[in-house]
């Protein structure tokens, strides 16, 4: 009974995080919804193990990541995900590009990164996880997490810089 309550609390806390994480991998909202339900069921089945772990949300994220990767390998396809209905961007004068377009582009850049880098930058910069939690999810030490995070951030900046420079040339 106590476990059931804790499970519900954990799932309620993590449903958006899990959804965003899975979405960053699948780029397909319908598929992400389905996978998230599978994640919840998996967490339920091993709820004792998850709830008693050092970092329950990190454990949950690892389950979500693994399920999403497995599904992606099975499906072996990507669909364009449109952020416009979810994001309310403001036009701040980035070379006439909408902010939602920048968010979309950033998401695509992140999605194209190697798996460890993608997970590191998503968990840190989107979800705000601490390094030790990210290390738990990735199954590596914090030094390696920082290395992957550094590479990911540099890649994202490089691609966004190209966009800005392209926009400057157009104008």
């Amino acid at each position: 009974m106590k476990n059931e309550t804790q499970y519900i609390e954990l799932v309620s806390e993590l449903r958006n995080t899990i959804y965003r994480l899975v979405l960053s991998i699948t780029s397909n909202s319908a598929e992400a919804e389905d996978i998230v339900q599978d994640v919840f069921e998996r967490i339920w089945r091993i709820r004792d193990k998850v709830l008693n772990s050092t970092f329950p949300r990190a454990y949950a994220c690892r389950i979500a990541h693994n399920l999403a990767i497995d599904r992606q390998r099975t499906t072996a396809r990507r669909q364009v995900f449109d952020l416009n209905e979810k994001v309310s961007g403001s036009n701040d004068g980035y070379n006439s590009a909408d902010l939602s377009d920048i968010a979309n582009l950033t998401r695509r850049i992140i999605a194209s990164l190697p798996e460890k880098q993608r997970l590191a930058i998503h968990l840190r910069d989107v979800e705000g996880y601490e390094m030790e939690e990210i290390a738990e999810v990735l199954g590596m030490d914090e030094t390696n997490v920082r290395m992957n995070l550094s590479r990911a951030r540099k890649s994202v900046r490089e691609e966004l810089t190209k966009l800005i420079n392209y926009g400057v040339k157009q104008n």
Partner: protein, 152 residues
């Protein structure tokens, strides 16, 4: 914020060595600065994009996990199903639980079921008697044939 401080934060950020507090400090500066150096435009873009991605919420369909079945639910369902099944069995097999005993003798006489013992015995004797008479008649016929055969 001093330019040297910003440079340190940005460099540390891309080395992956900033703390959460330092990242918040950097994010706040990028969001509020009026004279942001051009070299930090992409960094600002990154932080704003990450913020937008963070606002994505799961659809209503995944707001709650699918209903879980507990052992309590399962045992309740099994008990109810068993009770219904038992009720069906009882109502369709009432004669099995009737107070009246089943008849000891049941026989078929001229197309009719007879459960009375005396009547059943009477009919049995009558039939056997008829059979006996027929056998005697048959045997008498056989004797006549033998006699005739012997005389020849």
């Amino acid at each position: 914020m001093e330019s040297s401080r910003i440079k340190i934060l940005v460099d540390s950020y891309f080395e992956g060595t900033t703390t959460r507090d330092e990242e918040r400090e950097l994010a706040n500066y990028l969001a509020t600065s009026d004279n942001l150096p051009a070299e930090y435009a992409s960094v600002k873009m990154m932080f704003e994009a990450m913020g937008l991605l963070r606002e994505i919420e799961a659809p209503k369909a995944v707001q709650q996990p699918r209903q879980r079945l507990s052992w309590r639910h399962i045992t309740t369902a099994v008990t109810v199903a068993a009770s219904i099944l038992l009720a069906i069995v009882i109502t369709t097999n009432k004669e099995l639980y009737s107070a009246s005993p089943a008849p000891a003798i049941i026989c078929h006489v001229d197309g009719l079921y007879v459960s009375d013992q005396a009547i059943a015995e009477q009919e049995a004797r009558r039939i056997l008697g008829n059979m006996n008479a027929n056998v005697n008649l048959a045997m008498a016929s056989v004797d006549k044939i033998n006699i005739l055969a012997t005389k020849r």
